[in-house]
Amino acid sequence: MIKRKLVARSILAVVYIGIGVLAFVTGRSHKVFLDNPKDASAYVSFSVDGQKPIRVRPNGCRVMEAKGPSHHLKIEFEDGTAPIETHFHITPFTDAVLFSVAALNQGAPPHPQIVPGDTEEH
């Protein structure tokens, strides 16, 4: 009887912690920076997970918030260059990631750079 109680309470504790972990992983907000290089010829617009796009000037860097582990990034160029769309993942303990338009244009794989520490929008 005591053993059954102990097992039941252990299962409840595991479920409780599991819900907390799930809430943490799915609710964690991250900053996604997009860097438009200095020698870029045009503005770009980027959007994460279908949010309202943000324009980034040449030699500019803007940020968008993204919630959860897995995301969709879309970059559109105002000079008519083909847009870039990609999926990427962020681990729960990462605060911010940085995408470089230059690197993506050169065909680099869509692995964002992890930006360390607490970040402010540039």
Binding site: A23, F24, R28, E65, D95
Partner: protein
């Protein structure tokens, strides 16, 4: 005994509610606020505050009076929110995480509070009040000293300028409306936070169900007479502790619901307001320190908030100063708590005298609304 409605008796039994209703009715035309504005604000404020007030029902049923120690539960909720904001967990998930962190803390604090209150039988309310202040000290030690030093703060917006301690005012933008906006219904220009209403409805059903369970009935029996309950085999002390634990857990969740609506937290003072407001609201709603129901919560929250909305502007019109109106709201609020407590004590004394006179063979009328004497 005649079942006819007696206006004088009704007013006598519900004097606090009648006074509040009268003041609100008088203040509304002076405030010159439109009915739509008042209704819109009332809906939002009801969604914000009702959950906290429900936390007071069970201790009242268990004969422990107004649980001013619900501040401990509110503090646990705030600790959960601090972590949720610091870890940047947003929206409904942030509120869920805050609840999951706050609930175990509130269970421990509720157990501790119950142990103390069992050693202060007959003086639960004032003991709970002082326990709230004691918890304030522990919370400030946690917030100002342990956070940043022992418990790292990850987000700059949470920390004080020097990096140690949580800042005095914490923006809850990341979780603001996490529950209210989960399901929102707009009818014309009035917006209803259905998500919060659903949670409040679930809480009402829980209270109705709980009162019918054996534990709920035990609490009621303990509230009526501890000696008889003990003789009947009910574990009085354990039942009282459970009432306080459940109340503290509900206060934890209620404070999270309250703060997600507000969007802003005064880190070291918000929890104190929780107790004062909830106590005033439930007493205004017609509850006493020994009897409370769900209807008392609904009526009390609506009445208190109606006064808070209309009185500052009514004061400005009457006295040419909005500050006097605000002062009057606070004065009436705390005055109501005092009046309800004094009335309860007076009724109990009258009933005891009537009972003594009855034993001597005299026929002295007892006051019908009085309940069992707080032990």
């Amino acid at each position: 005994m005649s079942g006819k409605f007696n206006l004088k008796r009704f007013i006598g039994d519900n004097i606090v509610t009648v006074i509040f209703l009268s003041l609100t009715i008088i203040a509304i035309p002076f405030s010159k606020l439109s009915l739509l504005y008042i209704v819109t604000n009332l809906i939002d404020r009801f969604a914000r505050s009702a959950f906290l007030v429900f936390a007071l029902i069970l201790p009242i049923i268990a004969g422990m009076g107004i649980n001013f120690a619900m501040v401990l539960g509110a503090t646990a909720g705030q600790i959960g929110l601090i972590f949720a904001v610091d870890w940047n967990v947003v929206g409904a998930q942030g509120l869920l995480l805050a609840s999951l962190i706050g609930l175990p803390i509130s269970v421990f604090l509720g157990w501790f509070c119950g142990q103390v209150l069992n050693r202060a039988k007959g003086r639960e309310m004032v003991t709970g009040f002082i326990l709230g202040y004691f918890m304030d000290g522990i919370y400030q030690f946690f917030g100002l000293y342990l956070m940043g030093w022992l418990i790292p703060i990850r987000t700059a917006k949470v920390a004080q300028i020097d990096g140690d301690g949580v800042r005095n005012t914490l923006s809850l933008d990341s979780v603001r409306g996490g529950l209210d906006n989960l399901v929102r219904l707009k009818i014309g220009s009035v917006s209803f936070p259905i998500g919060t209403f659903i949670v409040i409805a679930i809480l009402c059903l829980f209270i109705v169900w709980f009162r019918k369970t054996k534990l709920g009935q035990d609490m009621r029996a303990v509230g009526q007479d501890q000696a008889v309950s003990h003789a009947a085999g009910i574990p009085v002390d354990k039942t009282r502790i459970l009432a306080i634990v459940v109340s503290t857990m509900l206060a934890c969740l209620g404070q999270i619901v309250y703060l997600q609506n507000l969007g802003n937290m005064f880190t070291y003072t918000s929890q104190r307001q929780a107790g004062y407001f909830a106590a005033a609201a439930i007493l205004v709603g017609g509850a006493t320190v020994s009897k409370a129901s769900i209807w008392n919560v609904f009526i009390g929250v609506f009445l208190v908030h109606s006064l808070y909305i209309t009185m500052p502007l009514a004061g400005k019109e009457i006295f040419s100063s909005a500050m006097i109106g605000q002062y009057m709201s606070d004065f009436i609020n705390y005055g109501i708590i005092s009046m309800a407590l004094v009335l309860h004590a007076w009724r109990n004394r009258k009933n005891a005298e009537a009972a003594r006179a009855g034993l001597r063979g005299g026929a002295v009328g007892a006051l019908p609304a009085a309940e069992g004497v707080a032990k």
